[in-house]
Amino acid sequence: MSAFKTPNKKHSGDFKIAKGVVVCSEAELFGDITIGGGTVVHPSAHILAQGGPIVIGERNLIQEQVTIINSKREDGSTPTMVIGNGNIFEVGAHCGSLSVGDGNTFEAKSRVSERVKVTDRCSVGAGCSLDSQETLPTGTVLHGRECHRYTKKIPTQNNNQQQLDYLIKVLPNYHRLTKSTAPASTATPNT
């Protein structure tokens, strides 16, 4: 149960939110964050750029209780965390990976640590936790309690456009939104 967050309290830092992005003000944004167009950030999501900037691409769906965190590093380095386009972060997902490609799905309550590099069109299953130093090849699917994995030859396309359109239309009716900083760059991040 998330405590009721008063609006405007949780945002601190330097954001560059493009036009057409829906960011609920109940989401927690911290640090240097760039969010590309068409992305929707649900309330009670946490995007924490503690140890460096976070660049999120276009048409991503970041649902409730998602944590995207660029943790503080002991050695003082501030690497940029780059998340591509068209990703889905389902409820409760935790992503610490510094490099996420396009079209991935992070299912509910999945955890990806910072040592993992995620490429394109991967699917991290519900509850799966990934903590090893590796790069997931394109189209990898993880599922099950044991995190069985296999690579799909023809990775499934992540088609969340319908859902994004609907949310962009309906969310503003029910939530206060953080205004976009329009003149700032709407640059799509490097993937």
């Binding site: 699917s123 299953g125 699917v141 599922h143 099950g144 296999y150 799909k152 030859k153 499934t156 088609n159």
Partner: protein, 467 residues
């Protein structure tokens, strides 16, 4: 009271076959007037239904479909249920348009859907492990129920063998019947009476051949050999790929995945096919003694109610340990047990000592216990009781052993004296006799009888033992 729920499994009632079981696992046959456990009932499948689409399947259809659902399929990779997805293929253009991923409920109206844009084609995909029929190259089907189980590759050969052996045994049987009729030393005059030889073309076997066949007692070897397999000089060797490259483990099926489909036992992931979902049966329980029905569920698969539910929980007074007492070896300890009334009329109970035979010749050691004497009456378990004016009628019971009374419950004091040197759990037992009033519809009269219920209570280990 909440604590007592933890100890439910510590109070074991004895079934008619002397098997101990918690009250929740017992059934009560009101004709035999005894408790029945899982092993004293005969269980059969009553109705068949699919666990995914909740379609009730009649018995004959279930047999034809080999107890599998027509519409629902199981993922060969992770055994979860597959969802049917449809895309619209335009009839004019061969290439796919932008796919509309609509989840069509796989049970209803599976007929061919024609929309103005084109025809719908279906494929199956797993939401858990993202496997889909497209991964193994199965073409999208026109209707969701077309994903049938492929026949076993050995089907033809097996059918050939089956028909051969069936005929073989029929002939064998017929010959032996003949031999029995005729007797070992008797002469067969059947040939004289056989007029078929005078009819042209009637019988293909001449009497001479028949006689030879009956002497040999078997068919010609040539017939038999037609069915026999030929052995090979060169059994299969290890495939070359074994030594050349590292096996792609992700492409090899695990044993569990293979056994999901015993007919094919696919060794590789590319050979996976969606399996039709296995049906579930609602059980029908019958008493073994009198064959009356003890448990019958409602036919509607989504309903969890029962048409007939003769469970012991509704008949026997339930005994619960209020809280575990501190047990000391050699000293008597007071144990509080609550007895609750399952019905909405007054029930009288009494306690007797367990027979020595119950201890199974010393295998189960029960601590000596002093039981409450006399008979007690339990107040009805009536929801209205609270709301009524307190017209408290005097309920029978020795005050000395009664700790307290609650609605429908009675808390009694038992005195247990664990023996010196008791290792393990301290258990004690008694027979709870209660009067059971049954209203049988046929008799249209109330008949009551005393039903004895042996109970064994497990109190746990000794808390303190003097060394």
């Amino acid at each position: 009271m909440a604590l007592s729920l933890h100890y439910l499994k510590r109070v074991l009632y004895s079934c008619s076959c002397s098997q101990p079981a918690p009250l929740t696992d017992l059934y009560f046959c009101r004709h035999c007037k005894v408790a029945r456990c899982q092993d004293c009932v005969s269980i059969t499948v009553d109705t068949y239904f699919c666990p995914h689409c909740f379609e009730t399947v009649p018995v004959s259809e279930a047999k034809n479909r080999k107890n599998r659902c027509n519409h629902c399929f199981q993922c060969p990779r992770c055994s979860s249920t597959l969802t049917t997805r449809s895309i619209i293929v335009p009839s004019e253009v061969l290439a796919e348009q932008s796919p509309k991923k609509t989840e069509s409920p796989s049970s209803k109206s599976p007929s061919l859907a024609r929309s103005p844009g084109g025809t719908k084609s279906y494929y199956l995909s797993c939401t858990h492990c993202k496997w889909s029929t497209r991964d193994v190259g199965i073409k999208d089907k026109r209707s969701p129920i077309d994903f049938k189980d492929p026949l076993s590759p050995h089907q033809e050969r097996v059918s050939q063998l089956v028909s051969f052996y069936k005929e073989f045994s029929m002939r064998d049987q017929a010959e032996r019947e003949k031999a029995k009729k005729v007797g070992r030393r008797g002469r067969s005059y059947g040939g004289l009476l056989d007029t078929s030889k005078f009819v042209k073309g009637a019988s293909s076997d001449s009497p001479k051949q028949l006689r030879r066949a009956s002497l040999q007692g078997t068919w010609n070897k040539s017939v038999v050999n037609k069915v026999a397999t030929q052995s090979t000089d060169c059994p299969d060797q290890i495939p070359d790929g074994f030594y050349s490259g590292e096996p792609e483990l992700k492409k090899i099926a695990t044993l569990q995945q293979r056994l999901l489909d015993p007919a094919h036992q696919p060794a590789r992931v590319e050979q996976f096919t969606p399996r039709p979902l296995h049906l579930i049966g609602k059980k029908l329980l019958r008493c073994k003694g009198c064959d009356h029905i003890l448990l019958k569920a409602e036919i509607n698969p989504s309903s969890i109610r029962f048409k007939i539910q003769q469970i012991a929980l509704h008949t026997f007074p339930q005994i619960r340990i209020l809280k575990p007492p501190s047990l000391v070896a050699g000293a008597p300890c007071e144990v509080l047990l609550s007895v609750s009334n399952p019905v909405n009329h007054v029930v009288s109970i009494s306690f007797q000592q367990l027979e020595p035979s119950f201890t199974k010749g010393g295998k189960v050691s029960l601590a000596p216990v002093s039981l409450p004497k006399g008979s007690y009456q339990l107040s009805p378990n009536d929801d209205m009781g609270d709301l009524l004016d307190d017209s408290e009628e005097e309920l029978e019971g020795e005050k000395e052993f009664i700790h307290s009374r609650l609605l429908g419950k009675l808390v009694l004091k038992f005195n247990v004296a664990p023996e010196e040197g008791t290792t393990g759990e301290v258990k004690f037992g008694f027979v709870l006799s209660f009067d059971y009033k049954s209203t049988m519809e046929l008799e249209k009269q109330e008949s009551s009888c005393i039903v004895p219920a042996p109970v064994v209570v497990d109190l746990g280990k000794l808390t303190h033992s003097d060394d």
